[in-house]
Symmetry: C4
Subunit: 194 residues, 4 copies
């Protein structure tokens, strides 16, 4: 089975998710600049979610670049990932409209953890089909980012009920970690821990 359609379908779903989020930023009735003020938190969460989805698309792209064959289990592991990503517009809207209140912030993190878990399952499913010595397995390497992200979420989610803005800062931190090109951050971290 070729991977072409799986890639095309995932591209379509992620493209739609990333775009319909902007529909949550409803056009205000006033024509003054102050009419945009209540939209600021919504806009900020939009940027954050846009970056998260961009990271997922980027990683998905890299992952399937290295993959050669897919089967039914891979298709479903992929759909499972898309399911959690499809909930991002909802939690983005809830968090943005409630000015980063505790529950919305916690739920945002929870959906992100589930998406991360789904991505992890997808990777494992693919690696098990390509073998531990495949270029796919080697390309994934030690997966430092994949290990530190759930840790940061595990801190951020309970913290949402005490200091929600710290949770948000941690979500931003996770995004930054993923944005920095791979080798550089690993080296910096290695230096830091020495």
């Amino acid at each position: 089975m070729t991977k072409g359609r799986l890639e095309a379908f995932s591209d379509g779903v992620i493209a739609i998710i990333i775009t319909i989020m902007v529909l949550e930023i409803r056009v205000p009735h006033g024509s003054d600049i102050v009419a945009l003020q209540p939209l600021v938190p919504i806009f900020l969460t939009y940027i954050l979610s846009f970056v998260y989805l961009g990271i997922y698309w980027n990683n998905h792209h890299h992952l399937f670049q290295a993959a050669h064959h897919v089967d039914g289990a891979v298709l479903w592991a992929n759909l499972h990932l898309l399911f959690w990503l499809s909930l991002v517009p909802f939690v983005t809207g809830w968090m943005g409209e409630n000015h980063f209140a505790s529950w919305p912030v916690a739920l945002y993190g929870l959906v992100m953890v589930c998406a991360g878990l789904a991505y992890f399952i997808l990777v494992r499913t693919l690696v098990s089909r390509h073998g531990p010595n495949s270029t796919l397995a080697l390309a994934l390497g030690r997966d430092f980012k994949g290990k530190v992200s759930p840790l940061l979420y595990a801190i951020a989610i309970p913290l949402a009920f005490f200091q929600a803005w710290v949770s948000c800062a941690l979500y931003v931190l996770v995004a930054i970690i993923w944005l920095i090109p791979d080798r550089r951050i690993e080296r910096e971290m290695a230096h830091g821990s020495t």
Copy 2:
């Protein structure tokens, strides 16, 4: 005529259908966890419909993997399938918002029966173009699932007016039957009937 564009167009339509359903889960105004409570039935129907559409996309993928040539009749049989699938967000929303009331539950089943019928017509149209000894025809096999599903719908739809939750349970059952990889269920069923 190549099948590439038919696949790409179908991928696009199914990707959009699967994603706009999430727009039915409207962001609540409250920031408390109880604000999410009325969304629970909407969320459950969303999961069910997501899985159904995932199954259709998976089967569509497998079907056209085995197909070699398409013509005008195949294009229209495919559009006919996409038409019924495009109604899924509407019936999903109606069923979810009315907490699984009789009519919405029955209509949900009806749209699923029509989609199933449209898929059956698409398969027949393709097989008639490839011949009964083609890999396509052989790959489809006895089609146990395709025969048991309409039977379950035929029970579930009238039952919606008496015990709507049993109808819903039957819809879930159909989804599970399709989710289980092919060979296993057929063997289990063969053992069961001996």
Copy 3:
């Protein structure tokens, strides 16, 4: 310049147009079957527009199957067609919500005429790049349908202000003419005119 991306972009736009139309069919608040009654005209216009867009996608598919090279002018002729098609959800919604009132019915026809004209321009642009003896030009043939459709629209649009339902019937007739496979209708018409 390859035609692949033009096809993919057009597939995407048409797939979205065909799918967002369903968003006009808003989920009713009642759970009874009578709650669906006001949606009947909206649903009927949805079917009509779905078929029209299906016809356009089918023809677009056939057209670019025969085309070999595209340039800037073709890209813009194609975008021009997509522009008029993008207005279909709006006129569909207006016609459906106003139970086939005169102005909405006339505007529906007008948008269809413009889309037809845009398609005609696209065909001419492509033929001028491939030459009158190309397989593209030969495949298009006498284009009986392309000539009879504007005629029917020219009758239907002014008629909307007197007998709107006759206009609608003419729109349905145009759709049927395009749905019937090419050769059959041309032969039937040839017989009829003898």
Copy 4:
């Protein structure tokens, strides 16, 4: 890394952006032609934004036609462009609903400047990977349009607070400059400056 998925994803996002803009043109309740009158400014901004997005898609198409290899930096430069383009429906809606008031007109121009800047960064990122003597770099040439557009925006944005309609006229002018095929305008401008 192949460029196929980057193109497909960009096609998807731009196709969705260009299509969801039409959702801002809400179906009016009246069935008379006067019911459409308040939609005129919304419709005009829709045309303008449709043309802008068409230009971006066209240029994107040409750009990646000449590109051969992409990497992580190119993927992010591309996502950055898509981010600004994703804001076009919002500013289009705000400008259209407020009948070209000062702030919305200025913000429209600002988003366009940012999109233009993002496109510039994408071009530079690609050229730096292909070298100054690559067909990509040569195909881009002197980039007259890319230099005159920010100039026109720099005039249009502050002008929105005095004569908003002149700003709009300048936005239209930018679109026209990009619509005219390359060589012709450069020659005309060369003649004009002699």
